[in-house]
Amino acid sequence: MVSTVGYGVSETLLSMFDGLRQTTISTSEPQREIKRKFLCADIDRLAQYICCRNYGFLCRELCFLCWAIVRACSDKQFNAPLFTYFWLTDVATAAGLRRAFANPWQGDQDQVYLQEGALHIQVGQTSFVISSSRAGVLAGLMEFIASVDNTQVQHITDTVSKGGSGDIDILSKALQKCLYDFLKHHLPEANEQSRYRYVTDWLNRNEQAPEDINDDDILLFWQQANDDPAPAKPSHVRFETAVDDVLNTLQALALLRIQKASQRAFSQGLDDDLGEVDLSRVMAEPEGSQGEDSLGEFVHGALFTHIPAPAQPNLLTLTPKCLTKSQAKRMQPIVKHTVHLGRFCQSLLRLQVFGQWQAVLSQAKRKSAASLKEKMASPPDNGYDGYQQEMIACADSLAFSRQCLLYALLPHEPERVLGELIGTLPPLDENAQQKLALQVKGTNTPQQKKTLVETLARDWPALQDALNKLASAYKANNKEGFKTLPNAYVTDAYLEALSEVSKLQGIVQNHLKALKSLGEITPQDSKFHADVSIFTARFNQLYGEIHVASES
């Protein structure tokens, strides 16, 4: 029996993704260093394909890649090019892919060659192009397939060795089926669908349009869902679940509307009533004509394509360590609901403050009635202001980590670091700007770049100050990954952390801004006290003494 505790994701699948994220490889001679194999972003991307059930094209891409590997990448040591490519070389990066295919290959009617960073594959009449930036996600998929069913690796080897493009299609279908069969058990949809339906039914019953829902409605939804005696209803005991369900439903409806509107705009030119698309009419369109594949593509497009990749605070708890685990956990809800930071600021605030209290209560209930009673008597003490302070502290941690990351990256990526720093300095006059541009222009080699930084800093006191600040921040940082300066080999992890820090800084700033303007409308103190009584009453009902007595 597969256990799916967390929102329809099985323990097995979760631990597989944990495994994928922690996967390490050791480089070939002479360094023999162990580093993480995949960028977190690539594993996240793989998770997106899988959650949207949009892995058909990805499988096909992988099959073509394997076809090319078997022919164009020779492997004298083991005569097993697929194994060597995916598991014995550092190939989960664009540079790795380009290295592996440095030599073009030519067959009778087939060929494999690199051009402008993309791998061109000609199989008989069929041509296929794989961008080298796909290296990570494709290697991730291969890893995932091999870990689901490792006999597939041999099957892929056998098929692509003999096959033409027809065999590739059949193989791609077989891989899809393998994933489908696995996900059927480990990523079931049914329970989650019933959550969506429960929320939309509730909206219908209350005759509420999705656009009109506000923070108090979400609170009301949680209250009513907990009073609902229907036996088969999804559980909404946790306030967090209620917030997640409502916000995700609203987001799904909004995305659907945007997608439909843009499709309509494409098909009909600029539609006059674009701004007034009638939701119920859009929703009522027949959808039976669409197959599973295109549904997955649609979902993937709506959720993840053309928007910046979702932030990943957990990444920052790895090396280089920028956040503590509890900080990363604290940011999770606002990261999850980035699109709703402004409109549902109050709900997110309630979730962060009372959701945490609820977690404490449910822990205490498992322990003893006395412990529960004690916790119940002490609601979150610092109120909403306390939470705001906590978020400001998170913002400070991020800013501090950013400085340390920049310092660590300075020797390896001077342009990038200078670019970031110069943007924050007071602007130069025109003469100095021209001089600067001239100085930057002539530098190409690493040595020149290093000297450039030194000269610039000498001539430009503001830059020197900024660099000094980075250095002293780094010196004060004793966390994992900041004790000794990293070598060139592991800079990827620092770059990835830097971009993640930037993303989170933006989110936290928006959140703080929303909190501030919320505080301007209603004084947070009185709001907090009103909320305490609402939540205390409900928690008493859910966990309180009567409840404990009847259960024991």
Partner: protein
């Protein structure tokens, strides 16, 4: 809004929810992370120490992973020697020999509790002579990895305490011994 028309929104809802769980839940603890195929390959090829992220320990805990690992090891082996019929004991210290390698044991004449294991490879490859020889032993106590130093005159040796589990596994006739390429 009737739910039957909501297939797409429902699919978006489910995908978002499951992605949130999958991308957020990882606690980056070594205990909970599954052993993926890469780990087996890296370990089998001697690129990662078995203690790294407790991989060898996890393999030994799962019959399925153990079988997968041994299959891989055989695929990339120099020579595979399956369980032997002959009995052996710590008193007689019977060696093991195939066409490609020989394993012999000799007790230290002074310190009796110490035993030398001499590994002879008849047709070594260049790695055997520069990096040493990696040996996988699948015995009663699970899989163990033992690394011998580089060959000199086709020979390399290690000294073990008699109680060492690696030695016990090498001596055990029931164990399969795989010399890696």
């Amino acid at each position: 809004m009737s739910p039957v028309n909501h297939k797409q929104a429902e699919a978006i809802f489910v995908a978002k929810r499951q992605y949130d769980v999958l991308s957020a839940s990882h606690e980056n603890s070594e205990e909970q992370a599954a052993v993926v195929f890469n780990d087996l390959m890296q370990l089998a090829s001697g690129r990662l120490p078995g203690s790294h992220r407790n991989i060898l320990h996890k393999i030994n805990q799962s019959l399925d992973l153990r079988r997968q690992y041994m299959n891989l090891v055989k695929q990339f082996s120099y020579e595979y020697s399956s369980a032997q019929a002959a009995a052996s004991s710590l008193d007689t210290l019977e060696g093991r020999e195939t066409d490609k390698f020989a394993l012999s044991f000799s007790r230290d004449p002074v310190a009796h509790s110490q035993i030398y294991v001499v590994l002879t490879i008849h047709f070594p490859n260049s790695q055997h002579c520069t990096d040493g020889v990696l040996v996988n032993v699948d015995g009663q106590q699970g899989i163990q990895q033992i690394r011998f130093g580089p060959l000199i005159d086709n020979k390399t040796q290690l000294l073990f305490e008699q109680s060492d589990s690696a030695l016990q596994a090498l001596i055990d006739p029931q164990a399969s011994i795989v010399i890696m390429n």
